[in-house]
């Protein structure tokens, strides 16, 4: 009986290790998480509007249907990237999403004082180089330091009426997401 309990206990301990490993590894192995969905539809450093007709993608990402969306795959391997453009007067948010679903940066129209979107996305090394080499950049550019080279930027706008969604999509399509 004692031997049986010993093996049972060993199995439970080993099961605990498997449990922790599965939970930690799952985000890296997932082939249909938010990151892979965005990676499939968006090219690096280009704005892609997620149209209201893209029902499958919007459902996969569990997007709030009240909003209008644009995404940009940010690749910092060749240098920092700026996300900028004129934003509508409506409520909007912008966020940077990492490959594992983490959100290292987010803002909204209120905290941004309803100004236009103008953020510079830098890796920690690129930001240090910016300071040490005193590189000239737009003084209005808000510098965001991120831990990884690959991210997705997502911009959401809440139209005051659904009939305004097309106009909002057009405006989001004119945002710039390009290397500095």
């Amino acid at each position: 009986m004692i031997r049986f309990l010993t093996y049972l206990f060993a199995g439970i301990v080993l099961g605990g290790i498997i449990h922790i490993s599965v939970i930690l590894i799952m985000p890296n192995l997932s082939t249909h998480n938010a990151w892979t969905s965005i990676e499939r539809v968006a090219s690096p450093n280009q704005i892609k509007v997620i149209k209201r007709e893209a029902h499958a993608l919007r459902a996969a990402l569990d997007l709030d249907p009240a909003f209008v969306y644009a995404v940009c795959r940010v690749d910092l391997a060749d240098g920092p990237v700026a996300l900028s453009g004129s934003m509508p007067a409506n409520f909007w948010t912008a966020a940077l999403i990492g490959p594992e679903g983490e959100v290292p940066y987010s803002t909204n129209s209120r905290t941004n004082n309803n100004r236009d979107l103008k953020i510079g996305i830098f890796t920690v090394q690129q930001a240090e180089m910016l300071i040490s080499e005193e590189i000239d950049i737009d003084p209005d550019l808000q510098i965001i330091r991120v831990p990884s080279e690959k991210l997705a930027a997502i911009v959401r706008v809440l139209p005051s009426h659904s009939d305004l969604a097309s106009a909002m999509e057009e405006q989001l399509g004119s945002l710039k997401c390009a290397q500095l």
Partner: protein
Amino acid sequence: MLRNAFHIVFTLLVALSVGFGSAYYMVENGREMTATTYGSWFGWPETGGSDIDPYRKATLARSGALQLGRAEGVVFTATHDDAGENLVGGCTYLISGTTPSASAWTLRAMPIGPNVSDKNTVYLTSFQINRHNDGTFDITTSPDAQPGNWLSTANMNRMEFILSFYDTNAFLVVGQETTVLPALQKVSCS
């Protein structure tokens, strides 16, 4: 020899069952242990930054959902009414009360099941809601048209409500324990 082999196989079977079984349970049904609940509503207001709970991260990886950042908002879901009964599209529900301070909020009704498209989702936003003089509101969800604030749940069987608050710090500041989300009561079923 044979006995030892049996013991090793037994230990491995226990380990695999416990390991994979508990991981699957936590990702699929473990929200009661990791989510914050307000009445019938549950959500993860502490996430949204760089430091996500590993279980939440695994759940997001499995569901494919895009998480809101801290400055964006917080999402709460209800799959049961305040009496603990499953939400069904054929029934009429009253969602009433107030919401915490936020720049905007939306309420969605979504069917539960495979192949759910956002074509099947209906929603209201805080800008569309008529309120009482004291700021409270009543929203009726029903398959049949209703007076006042109405969210149609026609053609839905099992469903869930998703309440998203945008630009809010009501769940992160001191005093969040006094935050109250709207009540969700069943009125009738057809």
